[in-house]
């Protein structure tokens, strides 16, 4: 109880984090409650009469191919966040391992890791993913496969962050003390470094998830990857492909756009909040 109160008190001082978490909770509630009151099949074509504007029966309307857009929103929110999280978690895991080993062992390994990260960060991930996805073709991968492919390009940012943080923390007094007291490398990592790295790990996770969601929506909007599943990106693809605007079907676009905007604003707020948590600003703008 005390803990909860502490958290609440902290959030009052860090409104960005609070607002971000609030939107996240809203999105989770939306997809959980939504999944109870919709039939997943309604998110696929011909489940409903086509091209109906929002009404009491279909509160978000239906698209040009007869998908119930409320069901699409429920399924798409979850699928999109899932792709982002899978890719983000894998990316941060790889990045943490690489960042730690690179910072701790230094030498050639470190040099190689640094160069690879520098080079790959310059290459737009979306383009490499386009090459991969178009080479694979649309039938070869499902949603999870897509997440794995995206994860292959989600580890560079975390590697860079973790490496530089570990390098700077290694020199701090408490780590030196632990070393002098004869703690082993691993227990230093787990007892001293990881707890202090948590905000950075969190920020890296948010960053990678953000990049992964951006890439997954971009790929789908280009018509790459699995187009059958009702993700938000695929919905955008159909909006553009089927001329939703020309047909006056604003709701078709409004549904995925609103949710995507919410997701990105949420990620942005959380990362700003975590940044504040990691480096509390002494001086605030008035």
């Amino acid at each position: 109880m005390d803990r909860l109160q502490g958290v609440l008190r902290y959030i009052r001082r860090n409104p960005a984090l609070g607002a971000g978490i609030g939107i996240l909770l809203f999105l989770i509630l939306f997809s959980v409650i939504g999944s109870f009151i919709t039939n997943p099949q309604d998110a696929y074509p011909l489940a409903a009469p086509a091209s109906k504007p929002p009404s009491a029966e279909f509160i978000f309307g239906t698209d040009g191919q007869g998908r119930d857009l409320f069901a699409v929103a429920v399924a798409g929110t979850w699928l999109t966040i899932r792709i982002g999280l899978i890719a983000g978690v894998i990316g941060v895991t790889i990045g943490t391992v690489l960042g730690f080993t690179s910072a701790f062992y230094g030498g050639w390994f470190d040099i190689v890791v640094r160069w690879v990260v520098d080079v790959l960060l310059t290459v737009p991930g979306l383009l490499v993913l386009i090459v991969i996805a178009s080479s694979l073709g649309d039938k070869a991968v499902d949603i999870n496969g897509m997440a794995l492919i995206i994860a292959m390009l989600a580890w560079m940012g975390p590697t860079r962050t973790i490496r530089s943080q570990v390098l700077s923390m290694r020199e701090r007094p408490y780590v030196m003390m632990a070393r002098l007291n004869g703690m082993s490398g691993l227990s230093i990592i787990f007892r001293e470094l990881i707890p202090n790295l948590l905000p950075y790990l969190g920020a890296s996770l948010v960053g990678s998830t953000n990049g992964a969601i951006f890439a997954s929506i971009g790929l789908a909007a280009l018509g790459l990857g699995p187009l059958r599943d009702p993700t938000l990106g695929v919905t955008i693809y159909w909006v553009m492909n089927q001329g939703a605007f020309v047909r006056g079907m604003w709701w078709w676009a409004a549904v995925p756009i609103s949710i995507i905007v919410l997701i990105f604003v949420m990620l942005f707020l959380i990362s700003a909040g975590l940044d504040e948590l990691a480096n509390p600003r002494v001086r605030r703008t008035v």
Partner: protein, 334 residues
């Protein structure tokens, strides 16, 4: 000039590595899949009884000779690298006998025009706006801009593009829905054509500018807050400098440095974002060409475009890395 050789050398190697990586990825990723794009295309066309342009079969044979299965992979790789080094990107499958180079050459001026103008404008406007918001002598109503700017910075370009299309072009019919210029107008250097192009470019440009101005403003605001707490600001004020000089020569000048680094680092993000914006508007640049080649499964065109974009980003990064020491006298001594 103050360029120490080690600094230049390191950036040059980075550029070469980027180009090499791009080419290598383009070579190996397709190899990892069991597909043969040319065969597929031929089969598809044959099954449709499609027209095969003259010379196409010769091109296929030439390709098979260079990259066929009878050649060892290392040899194929070397041949491929040789082609890439000469910027010989091969033929477009779906636009044969046009080469990939020709197609890219037609599209790239549009993209470069759009991207340089929008990025420069967004960077300038955003940076200045962020600086003004954070400046302690600014009117406090400027702070109300923070929330909308934050939201804009979090929205991908192409979503903003969709929203703008819907309202400005479709509902209010103020500007054209898409394309680079109107049908029926012959491209020329006449005033009418240039005006027509501008009209078509406004919405794509606006999507990129609006969405990225927010990011620059938010970044600059944070830096300005930090810089205003520095000792050199207090001392400069104690010298009795005019507020304008304090703002530009001391605060903005120093807060700008991380912004410029940020510009170099976000080039690849900006390019990815604008590829999709072009697609939304059917703007005749490299992004739309890429989307079309994806749709037509024109693999050589896809690989060629990706390669050229990555090389362009690498070169732009290199140029910015060379500009940076001119802004920050400390860099060459590190």
């Amino acid at each position: 000039m103050r360029y120490p050789p080690a600094f230049v050398l390191k950036r040059l190697i980075l550029l070469l590595m980027i180009v090499w990586t791009a080419a290598t990825l383009n070579f190996f990723i397709p190899k990892l899949t069991p597909r043969n794009p040319l065969r597929e295309k031929l089969l598809e066309d044959a099954s449709r009884g499609g027209y095969i342009p003259p010379g196409f079969n010769e091109m296929v044979q030439g390709y098979e000779k260079k990259f066929g299965l009878d050649q060892p992979v290392w040899k194929q790789y070397l041949t491929y690298m040789g082609d890439m080094a000469r910027f010989d990107l091969g033929y477009s499958i779906s636009n044969f006998p046009k080469t990939v180079g020709e197609l890219i050459g037609e599209a790239i001026p549009w993209t470069i025009g759009l991207l340089t103008v929008t990025t420069a404008l967004a960077f300038l406007i955003g940076t200045l706006l962020g600086a003004l918001i954070a400046w302690s002598r600014s009117p406090s109503w400027l702070n109300y801009l923070v929330a909308p700017l934050l939201t804009l910075s979090a929205i991908p370009f192409y979503l903003l593009a969709l929203i703008l299309i819907y309202f400005v072009a479709f509902q209010w019919k103020l500007l054209p829905l898409g394309g680079g210029y109107s049908f029926g107008i012959v491209p020329s250097f006449s005033a009418a054509f240039i005006f027509d192009v501008m009209k078509h470019a406004i919405l794509p440009a606006l999507s990129i500018i609006l969405a990225s101005t927010g990011g620059w403003a938010i970044g600059m605001r944070g830096m300005m807050v930090t810089v205003q707490g520095e000792d050199y600001m207090t001392f400069a004020e104690a010298k009795g400098l005019k507020p304008r000089r304090l703002f530009f020569r001391y605060a903005v000048r120093n807060a700008l440095l991380p912004q410029v680094t940020g510009l170099a680092l976000s080039l690849s993000f900006i390019v990815s974002g604008s590829v999709l914006v072009e697609l939304v508007f059917g703007f005749p640049g490299i992004g739309t060409l890429l989307a079309r080649s994806v749709g037509q499964l024109d693999y050589f065109l896809i690989y060629g475009i990706v390669f050229i974009i990555i090389v362009a980003i690498g070169v732009a990064m290199f140029i910015m890395d060379m500009i940076y020491p001119l802004l920050d006298p400390r860099i060459s001594y590190e």
